[in-house]
């Protein structure tokens, strides 16, 4: 404990420390020479591809997970995806994906042109969108894929003057865009989707020479450039605007690797580590892995973590520190020795009222320590200090204890995930569980879930899902179904379809169907059922879900799979699917629609179909024959009215055609009413009369029609004759109003005497004869009518209430009746 600062090295204002994580036990003949090595961040696994003999080795820290023969072509670059899969980028641009246990999963290509021009260099990078790959080809072109799970290749624009590969390059993800920063001799370019821009880092002295190495920090925020004269420039990577520092390292050889080592929120201008300097330290070839808060150094013997000592640890452990945390630690130590000094230290902290801060410091420092005994002593001190506080919130203390327990468990060399607390917080518990699952540490994962009380659907269920999918590879049908059901049961949120899909992949269709039955989500069942050719079942599941798009999908699938008869029969058993398919046909396949109605003997819809079709038809004969079909179907459907109406329509069409031919009246397509109007306007009274009788047009409507038509043509004599032809079915007030509308007061007056007594007042008012109106109202002794006259006398705008008054409306009705 006393030596805790022994491995601290000061640099600038901060200290750096190196913690040994594991002793490596891989057998290496030539160390790490002659092999490609890739290690995933966040304490991830390590992959090696040894060139001679061609083998690939996958290991997690200490334990070797798998070794297998490399049979494919030469590998340019190795990398890990976010879900712990190994990516091998080959010279011909194909990318192979292996899982942690060395089994091949899938492959894809970085484009056709690469096959010819070959991949010169490749980089695997991580961004918010997932894991990406960038390559530079023999024709000096860059191609990017930002997310290999949703592969979209982007060919970046050409870089002017670039021959072969650039001297160095990195991939940056910022501003939600992925860009490539590259140097070609003294020039520096930023390459994005659309353009290639030359940039110049500010403050880089001109004599610095050309850039030979560059490195970007874990967060993509900072950039380091190394020039051939040994200058090291660091700055913000965003538009290369702010320079942080420039150092002359006095070394002109190019470092092999250069990685940022930086703690999040560190005040210190961050530090870059170089291969050659480290070489001096270890004297052995090794690999650097940039982490969120430090650098992992993997050599053939050790795996170590180099990091800036967190501030709070510095405060506590710095020699002669008077920080409250340090005092508390000391107080506790004295207390354990049963020394009264404990009280002195405590008082000192309390006097400054810093006890809360002291506890907080101890808890935080404990979380950053790797050594369990140090963790313990810090936590004990915190717990000791806590006793003297009345209102201390214990949440942080409790959660830190829990998290440390989990971290210590995964750091065990048998699991081999050297995660720091900061990394753990960043990558979240969810991801940790996922990664344990990828490594098939199911038991540990479940225990962690229980221990941290994670809701089932986020924790245990997911683990079980993976377990069940994995289980299928090596057991018989029966035992699997049993095993899966016993373990998984109905834990909420387990995706049975996922398990079933795996079963199907392994060629176990029956098992898959069995498993699918447990799936609650129809949306998940259907695609798989279709894939397994269980289309009937898929259809009923789709209907059950209520998701119409899903139903449509199955229906289109069925349509292509089955013969028409079977298809229709299937639909018939699923009314929801049938009506959806009808909708589809209405828009897309009118003819099929007809067949559908025919099959169902749905005469009514069939008739409607013919009617609709008739309107699409240009030629009258075809139109009439379609309408005749409609009449037949309406008759079959026992809809007499519609049949009669359609017959009328045909009759009208024929009539219009005839008159059009004879007189060029242009009637075709008009409604009956409009036809009569047109006839009257043309003076063809006889024909209008004929329609009126043939179609049994009600008297009232015909009278209105004729009245208006005559008034419009100003045939006043005709109108008067017409009014006397028989008793008007629409009364005579209508005559007055129509005349007034044509501004003929003289004609209007003729009809005033003919109106019923109830309408007298209105009639007088209509021709603005206020006196007459008043007389009529007095004669009828009607208050409301008097009121109406009065209101007309005082003001021209008669604003009545919106809500009708009851007596009035009744009165009006009576007028109408008479």
């Amino acid at each position: 404990m006393a030596f805790i600062t022994a491995n601290w090295n000061p640099l600038g204002e901060a200290f750096y420390r190196k913690t040994e994580l594991y002793e490596m036990c891989w057998t290496l003949r030539d160390g790490l020479r002659d092999s490609l090595v890739a290690a995933a961040p966040y304490g991830g696994p390590i992959g090696r591809n040894i060139i001679t003999p061609p083998v690939a080795v996958l290991s997690v820290s200490v334990t070797c997970l798998s070794v297998f023969q490399w049979k494919s072509g030469p590998v340019v670059q190795l990398g890990w995806t976010v879900s712990d899969e190994l990516l091998c980028v080959q010279e011909d641009g194909s990318v192979l994906i292996y899982d942690l246990f060395g089994s091949f999963k899938r492959h894809f290509s970085m484009g056709q042109e690469v096959v010819q021009s070959q991949v010169l260099e490749a980089k695997v990078f991580h961004s918010p969108y997932g894991t990406g790959i960038a390559i530079v080809t023999g024709s000096s072109r860059f191609t990017l894929a930002t997310n290999i799970d949703d592969l979209k290749l982007r060919r970046l624009p050409e870089v002017p003057g670039l021959q072969g590969k650039p001297s160095c390059w990195v991939v940056l993800t910022q501003d939600r865009q992925t860009k490539v920063l590259l140097s070609n001799g003294p020039e520096l370019y930023i390459l994005d989707n659309t353009s290639c821009t030359a940039v110049c880092p500010p403050g880089l002295s001109p004599q610095a020479g050309s850039i030979v190495h560059m490195s970007v920090s874990f967060s993509y925020k900072y950039l380091a450039l190394f020039t051939d004269t040994g200058h090291l420039w660091t700055g913000a990577s965003l538009y290369l605007q702010d320079k942080l520092s420039e150092v002359d390292t006095k070394k002109t050889t190019t470092p092999k690797q250069m990685v940022w080592c930086r703690r999040p929120k560190s005040q210190q201008p961050s530090v870059v580590l170089m291969w050659d300097r480290l070489l001096m330290v270890t004297g052995d070839p090794c690999v650097l892995v940039g982490e969120l808060d430090g650098v992992r150094i993997i050599s053939s013997v050790y795996q170590e973590l180099l990091q800036e000592v967190p501030l709070v640890c510095q405060d506590i452990f710095k020699i002669a520190s008077m920080a409250p945390g340090a005092l508390l630690l000391e107080a506790h130590r004295e207390y354990e020795k049963s020394s009264q000094k404990a009280d002195e230290y405590l008082r000192e902290i309390k006097e400054q009222s810093m006890l809360g801060e002291a506890v907080r410091q101890c808890v935080e420092a404990a979380s950053h320590e790797y050594d369990t005994s140090t963790q313990k002593s810090l936590l004990r001190a915190a717990s000791f200090g806590k006793c003297f506080l009345t209102d201390f919130n214990p949440d942080v203390f409790v959660s830190t204890c829990r998290e440390l327990r989990v971290l210590n468990a995964v750091r065990e060399s048998s699991v081999g995930m050297p995660l720091t607390h900061t990394q753990f917080k960043q990558m979240t518990l969810q991801v940790l569980i996922d990664r344990l699952v990828y490594r098939q540490f199911y038991q540990l994962a479940i225990e962690i879930c229980h221990y941290l009380k994670i809701p089932d659907y986020q924790g245990v269920s997911r683990v079980l899902k993976h377990w069940a999918s994995c289980k299928q590879k090596d057991l018989s049908d029966e035992s699997i179904a049993r095993a899966v059901c016993v373990k998984v049961g109905d834990s909420p949120g387990v995706s049975y379809s996922h398990i079933a899909a795996k079963a199907y992949e392994c060629g176990r269709t029956e098992l898959a169907i069995k498993l699918l039955d447990f799936e609650a989500r129809a949306g998940e069942q259907v695609p798989l059922l279709l894939k397994m050719k269980r289309s009937q079942l898929a259809l009923s599941k789709a209907v059950e879900s209520g998701d119409t798009d899903l139903v449509y999908t199955v229906v289109t699938y069925l349509k292509n799979e089955m013969n028409r008869g079977d298809f229709f029969m299937t639909l018939r058993n699923q009314p929801v699917a049938l009506s959806l398919y009808r909708q589809f046909c209405k828009l897309q396949e009118q003819d099929t629609l007809k067949d559908l109605y025919n099959q169902d003997d749905d005469h009514h819809e069939l008739a409607n179909y013919y009617v609709t079709a008739s309107y699409r038809e240009k030629r009258l004969d075809t139109r009439l024959s379609l309408l005749q079909s409609a009449v037949d179907e309406y008759n079959k459907a026992k809809n007499e009215f519609a049949a009669k109406a359609t017959e009328d329509e045909m009759r009208l069409l024929r009539f219009q055609r005839k008159l059009d031919d004879e007189k060029g009246a242009g009637l075709l397509g008009l409604s009956l009413q409009a036809t009569m109007e047109a006839l009257l306007a043309l003076g063809l009274h006889k024909q209008a009369e004929q329609l009126y009788r043939d179609f049994r047009v009600p008297d009232k409507r015909y009278w209105w029609l004729k009245l208006k038509s005559l008034a419009e043509k100003e045939e006043w004599e005709e109108l008067e004759k017409f009014s006397r032809s028989k008793k008007s079915p629409i009364g005579y007030l209508a005559f007055i109003e129509v005349c007034m509308k044509c501004n003929n007061k003289y004609e209007a007056k003729k009809y005033v005497s003919k109106v019923t007594p109830e309408q007298k007042v209105k009639a007088h008012l209509a021709i603005s004869d206020l006196e007459g109106a008043a007389d009529a109202a007095i004669e009828r002794r009607n208050d409301s009518e008097m009121g109406a006259v009065l209101s007309r006398c005082t003001t021209q705008d008669g604003s009545g209430p919106v809500k009708p008054k009851r007596p009035h409306s009744v009165a009006q009705k009576e007028c109408n009746k008479k």
């Binding site: 659907y457 949120g493 798009d549 449509y552 009617v611 038809e617 240009k618 009328d648 009413q673 919106v802």
Partner: protein, 600 residues
């Protein structure tokens, strides 16, 4: 900008923000400059979520309307199609893409499906051979759009037609999904009530979806206590009646679309008398209507007859406020006055606008035609002579009044009489066909299919029973100071809202008989809440009910629910959700079939 969404009992701005966030995320996926090609139908609803400025911030430089042919040229990196998942639109997109490729090759294509991506559409794109041209194919889940502080709409115009006429339950699936999203943001709704076939279907899907996501229950304290799902076909009568609230009348006369109304400009031009009165604006005046405008929030739900008084009262207050300046003596007082000026000026211009609108409406409501129409409607609703041919309708047909007006009245008579005598029905139908054309036989068939028109089958007309039990007609509705929801139709209390009101107190058990007369099942479901989320209600705290109208709701019904929320002793606050805001005209229009005649 959207502050009014957060004023209410439930902060609907959370929903809007969630939608905006998702939109931004999608736009950022397509790096570089962009042009959006809009399915025209979507622009209105999107306006409620994001203004152009948001799009512009994310490098949207051009906007086009989706149409066949070649895309307009634009110097952008990305072309994004915002479309509903419809096959006919896919064909247009395919054509756009085909024409494009020959000219440029550098533009990237993306599709954003609203509200859900569709395998069927992707299949169609694949058949057309363009699926591979799209870099991103995504969905933008926009089911329920916050429309106002207490109002959500899916803006799904054809929902009623699809559900009741075509037996296509797509809109119901979206409804259920939307309600799940809502529950994810506002907590599980413990009680679900419903009436009608569609309501049952939605509730079933919700329960099923909940099972599917079992375990992933959110730990949010429920904001809503109750969900009430109502089928529109339970109450076919209400939308047919002419709405008599201020907002309702604006909608009836000018049509409110996505929160905006277009008004004839003449009335608004006169206001600026000082300057040029010479160039009268010919463009219609476009106004946004929502509760962000203080005055509008105050008068929107009033009966139109009470609006005049409210406006003149407001005018007095405003001019009094302006008079204050004479009383301001000290520098401090003047400063305070000046600081209030912008608010006062806004209030004054708002007053001017609404005075103009009220004048426009008054011209119509005082006309004889409006009066006569209303009289007939009220006769039907009170059950006067609903079993014979109505003279007013007959005359209106003879005068060739707009067909929709006729259909509204005939349907209303049929609904109020529980179907028409075959003779009467046939007479109306024949009159309509002869006057407006035989092609309308399809529309008439549609109306019969959804139950708006029907022949009387049973001898018993149960409408009077329903009317009496639910007190649908209140003889003396107080329009100025209402004490009952019937004020929104000057006498008629909307059936749908009565059902809601009775549910709150005394409960549906008291009206079992009537519920059985209305179509579809009525039901009650409970959703288990995770332990610890049971609300501890404080004394006097109101309960919150979400009322979802499947197939549309009118502004007058909304006004009635707001009235109930404000009633002191109701103890219930209502949030309203619907597939679409409708009125009788838009509703009937959505049910019409118009075959386009090829004959010249």
């Amino acid at each position: 900008m959207a502050a009014h969404l957060s004023y209410g009992r439930v902060n609907l701005n959370i929903l809007r923000e969630a939608a905006r966030k998702e939109l931004r995320e999608f736009l950022d996926k397509c790096a570089g400059s962009k042009a959006i090609v809009w399915d025209e139908y979507l622009t209105g609803p999107f306006g409620l979520i994001a203004q152009y400025s948001l799009l512009k911030e994310h490098e949207v430089e051009k906007m086009f309307t989706l149409k066949s042919g070649r895309l307009p040229s634009a110097e952008v990196k990305n072309i994004i199609f915002f479309v509903r998942p419809r096959l006919e639109l896919m064909d247009i997109i395919a054509e756009n893409v085909f024409r494009e490729d020959k000219l440029h090759s550098s533009r990237d294509f993306h599709i954003l499906f609203v509200p859900r991506r569709s395998l069927l559409c992707e299949q169609r794109l694949k058949e057309q051979g363009v699926l591979g041209s799209f870099i991103n194919i995504d969905e933008y889940i926009l089911d329920l759009i916050p429309y106002d502080g207490d109002l959500l709409s899916m803006e799904y115009e054809s929902a009623f037609r699809e559900c009741y006429l075509e037996n296509d339950q797509t809109s119901l699936y979206h409804t259920a999904k939307g309600l799940m999203t809502l529950q994810a943001l506002y907590g599980t709704i413990p009680q679900i009530y419903g009436k009608g076939e569609c309501a049952r279907h939605v509730a079933n899907m919700m329960l099923r979806m909940k099972r599917e996501f079992a375990g992933s229950q959110n730990q949010i304290l429920p904001v809503f206590d109750t969900l009430l799902l109502l089928d529109r076909n339970v109450d076919l009568l209400t939308p047919l009646a002419t709405q008599l609230t201020y907002e309702g009348l604006i909608d009836e006369i000018y049509g409110i679309s996505n929160g905006y109304v277009k008004l004839p400009p003449e009335k608004f031009a006169q206001k600026k008398q000082g300057e040029a009165s010479k160039d009268l604006p010919t463009e219609p005046k476009k106004l946004q209507l929502n509760s962000a405008e203080e005055l509008y929030a105050e008068i929107r739900d009033k009966n139109f007859n009470a609006v005049g008084a409210a406006l003149s009262k407001k005018a007095k207050i405003i001019s009094a406020a302006f008079e204050e300046r004479h009383n301001a003596k000290t520098v401090g007082e003047i400063k305070q006055f000046v600081s209030q000026l912008p608010h006062m000026q806004a209030a004054r211009s708002s007053l001017a606008n609404h005075t103009s609108i009220a004048e426009l409406i008054k011209d119509i409501t005082t006309s004889e035609a409006f009066f006569d129409n209303l009289t007939v409607e009220q006769e039907f609703m009170t059950g006067v002579d609903t079993d014979k041919v109505n003279i007013y309708i007959e005359d209106s047909i003879a005068q060739k009044d707009p067909l929709i007006k006729i259909l509204r009245l005939v349907c209303m008579q049929s609904v109020c009489n529980n179907g028409l005598k075959q003779k009467v029905l046939d007479y109306y139908k024949r009159e309509i066909l002869q006057t407006y054309g035989y092609e309308h036989i399809l529309t008439l068939n549609n109306l019969e299919k959804v139950g708006l028109l029907k022949p009387q089958t049973s001898s018993r007309n149960n409408y009077p029973t329903i009317r009496k039990t639910l007190k649908l007609w209140m003889e003396d509705a107080n329009e100025q100071n209402p004490n009952d929801i019937s004020y929104v139709y000057s006498g008629y209390a909307p059936l749908s809202i009565r059902l809601t009101q009775v549910l709150a107190r005394p409960g549906w058990r008291s009206i079992e008989e009537v519920l059985k007369m209305l179509p579809g099942p009525h039901f009650e479901e409970r959703q288990q809440l995770p332990a610890g989320l049971h609300k501890k209600r404080q004394q006097g705290e109101n309960r919150t009910t979400l009322v979802f109208f499947l197939g549309g709701v009118t502004y007058a019904e909304i006004a009635a629910l707001r009235f109930l929320s404000q009633m002191e002793d109701s103890g219930m606050e209502y949030i309203i959700a619907t597939t679409k805001l409708i009125n009788g005209t838009t509703w009937i229009k959505s049910l019409m079939d118009r075959p386009e005649s090829q004959t010249p």
